[in-house]
């Protein structure tokens, strides 16, 4: 039998398979190297990078919730310059695409980070995280309003020539105007969802369980919400959509392909089962073979509506 074709395209980017690992859950790409070759992945999205190194939020930064977890890492990272100097050379050795997730406190900061990365060999695309609070607008999310979403993406677009992915937040009333805004701003693809706002309280100390009070919810708990957003997104844009949220196994991933995702990202599942992304690739292959599809493109967006 002919080998199943798992390649998929995200804007100008051609992935050998549609399974990526999500930003913030895979460090700078090498933490799981002992368990399998990260080069087997469709792509690696590294931890969100900012212009300057960030210490991040006070601990505790994670708390488990039913079938999910809240995190308030606060985008702790080594900064883009250190990343380029120390980590990127190691990542270039891997036989897969490295995608940098970036964020800034202002659109100028986003632009500067993008500029630095644009000059680097070994970075195939940027994923712009506009799902984090911004300082200028009083802590609101850039990605929560079309205007600010457009502002960030277009300022990055001006300086960055390769594939540009806008990562969107589910904490909005309606995702379509946001998608329209980033599309007009020059995004070639969108990825969603980032985490949902959440909190947990310790009834013994009577304090929030997270050091910073609130956090972002991820994991299997949010999968139905993520799937809905991806379904909506696919139907409101022609841009390729990357599905994220609560994916732990091949069945989950296939649900996202059915509603139209061109690729998926595995996040929290890496913590539970580090080999999940590899098992998902194998599971997708097996599903396609079983259903006699030679190409994942036959699966993508093949949902039968009711």
């Amino acid at each position: 039998m002919k080998e199943v074709d798992l390649t998929t395209e995200i804007g100008g980017l051609r992935l050998k398979n549609p399974v990526l690992v999500a930003s913030g859950t895979y460090g700078y790409g090498l933490d799981y190297r002992d368990l399998y070759d990260p080069g087997l992945l469709g792509g690696i999205i590294v931890k969100g990078l900012s212009l300057e190194p960030q210490e991040g939020n006070p601990p505790p930064r994670i708390v488990e919730t039913p079938c999910g977890m809240l995190n308030s890492i606060g985008l702790a990272n080594m900064g883009v310059k250190e990343f380029v100097k120390v980590q990127l050379p190691l990542l270039r050795e891997l036989d897969t695409h490295i995608i940098a997730n970036i964020y800034g406190k202002t659109s100028e900061e986003y632009q500067e980070v993008a500029q630095i990365l644009g000059d680097q060999e070994g970075i195939s695309a940027l994923e712009v995280n506009i799902s984090c609070p911004n300082v200028k607008r009083g802590g609101l999310l850039f990605g929560a309003e079309p205007i600010s979403a457009h502002e960030v993406i277009s300022s990055v677009r001006r300086v960055y020539k390769k594939t540009l992915i806008a990562k969107l937040t589910p904490n909005v009333t309606d995702i379509s105007p946001i998608i329209k805004a980033v599309e007009e701003g020059g995004a070639e693809a969108i990825s969603l969802i980032n985490t949902l706002r959440g909190m947990a309280v310790d009834i013994h100390t009577r304090r929030p369980k997270l050091g910073s009070g609130f956090g972002g919810l991820s994991g299997p708990a949010i999968k139905p919400i993520a799937l809905y957003f991806v379904y909506r997104a696919v139907r409101s844009t022609n841009l390729p959509v990357i599905g994220i949220g609560g994916i732990v196994d091949a069945e989950d991933a296939i649900e996202f392909f059915l509603v139209g995702a061109k690729a998926v990202q595995v996040g929290t599942a890496n913590f539970v089962n580090p080999k999940a992304p590899i098992e998902i690739i194998e599971g997708i292959r097996a599903y396609l073979e079983y259903h006699q599809m030679g190409d994942i493109k036959e699966l993508i967006n093949s949902l039968k509506e009711c």
């Binding site: 933490d31 601990p59 930064r61 488990e64 732990v248 929290t268 913590f271 580090p274």
Partner: protein, 250 residues
């Protein structure tokens, strides 16, 4: 580091709410160093979701022992494990203890379940090494697991050994053995570790602490498990779990 499936050989209560879990694993874990840990997952349910960190209490060839206390969801599920059941364990993880220096006498200090983190180190103790183990009451002490020689046991209510905390135990030891250059290795609650740190500082004694924290990944990928040190936030899982006591900001 490996991710392997362990088969339960035995799982029994050794003192109140404290259990000893013996596992057979496919790959040997001889390379494990004292102070290292594994991330353990029981069952396939997503609730509880995350793996939990547990120190390697004993390791021999393809056998691993974990000493754990039942405190919540995951550890309650562990209590229900029976012979032949399987668990998933990833490890060994973390940096482990540094050996004691030339001319130093190792002194292990365990607060309650803190004993679990010192198991591998205890096996390497020389004849003249010491252990101080503190408990709240007698029924919390897994006496069968505590070395017979050179051990001092304390209990807060006086129901076992010396009445008091591990600090009282250490002070008694100092009085008894006189002028010895100790190197401290401590594991236990945050409050107890802080007290041991202060003691170490005031006695200019080397002191290593095995710290705890909530973990998600256990391998350094998520930045979730940090604690504050004098050189900023450090990941307990990757930069620790063992830290020199003078690094910690209390």
């Amino acid at each position: 580091m490996k991710d392997q499936v362990g088969v339960v050989l035995s799982n029994r209560e050794v003192s109140r709410d404290l259990f000893l879990l013996r596992l057979r694993v496919p790959y040997q874990m001889r390379e494990s160093r004292p102070g290292q840990f594994v991330m353990l997952k029981v069952g396939t349910s997503h609730d509880p979701l995350l793996r939990r960190p547990f120190s390697l209490f004993k390791v021999r060839e393809r056998e691993v022992e974990i000493l754990y206390k039942v405190v919540g969801k995951a550890t309650s599920m562990m209590r229900d494990l029976r012979d032949g059941d399987t668990v998933s364990l990833m490890g060994p993880l973390g940096n482990g203890f540094q050996p004691w220096g030339e001319g130093e006498t190792p002194l292990l200090v365990a607060g309650g379940i803190g004993l679990a983190g010192l198991g591998l180190l205890e096996e390497m103790l020389p004849e003249e090494g010491f252990l101080v183990a503190g408990f709240r009451t007698r029924d919390e002490a897994p006496l069968e697991l505590i070395r017979k020689r050179n051990s001092i046991i304390t209990s807060e209510d006086g129901s076992l050994g010396i009445k008091g905390t591990v600090i009282d135990g250490i002070e008694m030891l100092l009085r008894e053995v006189g002028k010895t250059k100790f190197s401290l290795f401590a594991c236990g609650s945050r409050g107890m570790l802080k007290a041991v740190s202060l003691f170490a500082r005031s006695h200019s004694t080397n002191c290593q602490l095995l710290l705890e924290s909530y973990m998600a990944c256990g391998v350094g990928a998520c930045q979730g498990c940090v604690i504050l040190t004098h050189s900023g936030y450090k990941r307990v899982c990757r930069d620790g779990p063992v830290f020199s006591s003078d690094q910690i900001v209390w």
